[in-house]
Symmetry: C2
Subunit: 302 residues, 2 copies
């Protein structure tokens, strides 16, 4: 089995995770989470978003979190930006990277952001330009690259189309997200292959949801293609907005356990990571949605 | 990715699963579970065991279950047999296959059955002989083939040693079990490779636990070696006796979803399987320990 020797994980828990949790979380707890993640060795953290607080009240404290956290040298802090207004707010907080987004499903794009895929990407063009001119990196989150809650299966051609649009406006690297977690290894590989028509393997990351328990086998399949960047969420923060009670983002702990078991370097200390997940799960008053965390915490408890 | 075109699943829920659940289950409910599993298309079911009711009270109704169930043509019904006395009780109920067992870890063997690995297999020799003479098939369950709760990592040589002993007494096929769920894909492949010194690929099955969430990626890694027989437990019945609150047997629903997504035939109707798991979970008063079952049941509920 040929695998990359090292993997870089982007923990999206503070943003994608907490945004989808029902309870509000204090800015100080968000900052503590970012600190614990970087202490555990995470080299990339998606910290917050600059979406209107009308739509996403959980991220209304974006300035407080970005200004309040202690940055660590070598860590990349990214933030989600929905439009030019968001960019103008974000740039004040000096993110290392902004995240723009688009769906591979037309129905999802229409229902989620009320415009076509092509329109949504066009609108991001001036944002990407402004970011690159300011020396800020740009990542593109591509949702529904395997399945869509409205359309069902998504053809790889649609994924290639979205990746081409992203490339066209200057997005430097892209996340291939299985937003509803319906993917299985061969389908995920086909979606990634489609993206490789426009981006090289170093600029493609896998973002898998564990709704159907498939995230780690999809991760393995992506690793076997040479993908070495992945997103995950500490303690599986986030749930699944499309199936109540179900799992969403794959837990960072579970991905790290897989990678270390495969002999792949991550630079992450799993015990410290479990602590970070236990901390934020405690704040939310729930158990970590990570099988590795639960097993390790039970073992520690004896 | 080269994969087998079809896979045979052995559902161990009624035996391995229910044996490790705390609550007693009525024989009529066990029989109903077997019926629902075979209606869902399971071609192999591990029904019960003939261990002393002093040690395993949950299986004291072995005769009632085996005699009460309606057999379906083409389904193989297996039972666990710990010794000659167990065999003499089992043979009255006409199982298609008996399961004998041994650990790849000396410490586990000593603590679990109070004798060495070699002694445990020697004791099974007359059982295997009697079964084969009676035309009953014999499967060997090999526990702790990747890790042990007392010894930690298990060397592939120890797995090969156990497989050789099993072969020596006439065991026809073997299960490679990751009893505590600590395995990751390369370690599991090494354990299976060790077994292949004594058994061909058609006579090796994978038995993975999901304690650390790794069971499906281990299944994928085994599939890539050509393994096409797997054990799993409907609704993830069984928990993990070595880590309270943690997951044990991988859920059959999750394995079937993976396989169907990969285009691998199983002969199983996933919706009926989810019904079977929901039924027995209802009897136990808990949620199915299967992410696929939870996602599908949530979707059905709207």
């Amino acid at each position: 089995m040929s695998l990359p020797s090292r993997v870089r994980l982007i923990d999206v828990g503070p943003r994608d995770g907490l945004q989808n949790e029902k309870q509000p979380v204090a800015s100080s707890d968000k900052i503590a989470l970012v600190h614990k993640l970087q202490e555990a060795g995470l080299a990339e953290i998606e910290v917050t978003s600059y979406v209107s607080p009308k739509w996403v009240p959980q991220m209304a404290d974006n300035h407080a979190v970005m200004q309040g956290m202690q940055r660590q040298v070598g860590v990349r802090y990214s933030v989600l930006v929905p439009n030019l207004k968001g960019w103008e707010a974000a740039v004040q907080d000096r993110p290392d990277e902004i995240v723009v987004f688009g769906a591979a499903s037309e129905a999802f794009s229409q229902r989620n952001i009320n415009c076509s895929i092509a329109e949504s990407i066009e609108r991001f063009a001036p944002v990407v330009q402004a970011a690159l001119a300011a020396g800020v990196a740009v990542r593109g989150a591509m949702s529904c690259t395997v399945g869509c809650p409205y359309e069902g299966d998504i053809a790889p051609e649609r994924v290639a189309y979205l990746a081409g649009l992203m490339k066209g406006i200057g997005v430097q690297r892209v996340d291939v997200a299985d937003t509803i977690g319906v993917g299985t290894p061969l389908k995920v590989q086909r979606a990634i292959e489609a993206v490789l028509r426009h981006y090289d393997i170093d600029h493609v990351s896998g973002h898998f949801h564990d709704t159907y328990g498939q995230a780690l086998s999809n991760t393995l399949a992506a690793l076997q293609m040479g993908v070495w960047n992945f997103q995950s969420s500490v303690a599986g923060l986030g749930g699944c907005p499309y199936a109540k009670g179900a799992t969403g983002n794959v837990a960072t702990e579970d991905v790290v356990y897989l990678l270390h078991g495969l002999g792949v370097e991550t630079g992450i200390d799993l015990d410290k990571l479990v602590d970070a997940g236990a901390f934020i799960s405690g704040v939310l008053g729930k158990r970590p949605q990570s099988r590795v965390a639960v097993a390790i915490l039970n073992k520690r408890a004896g």
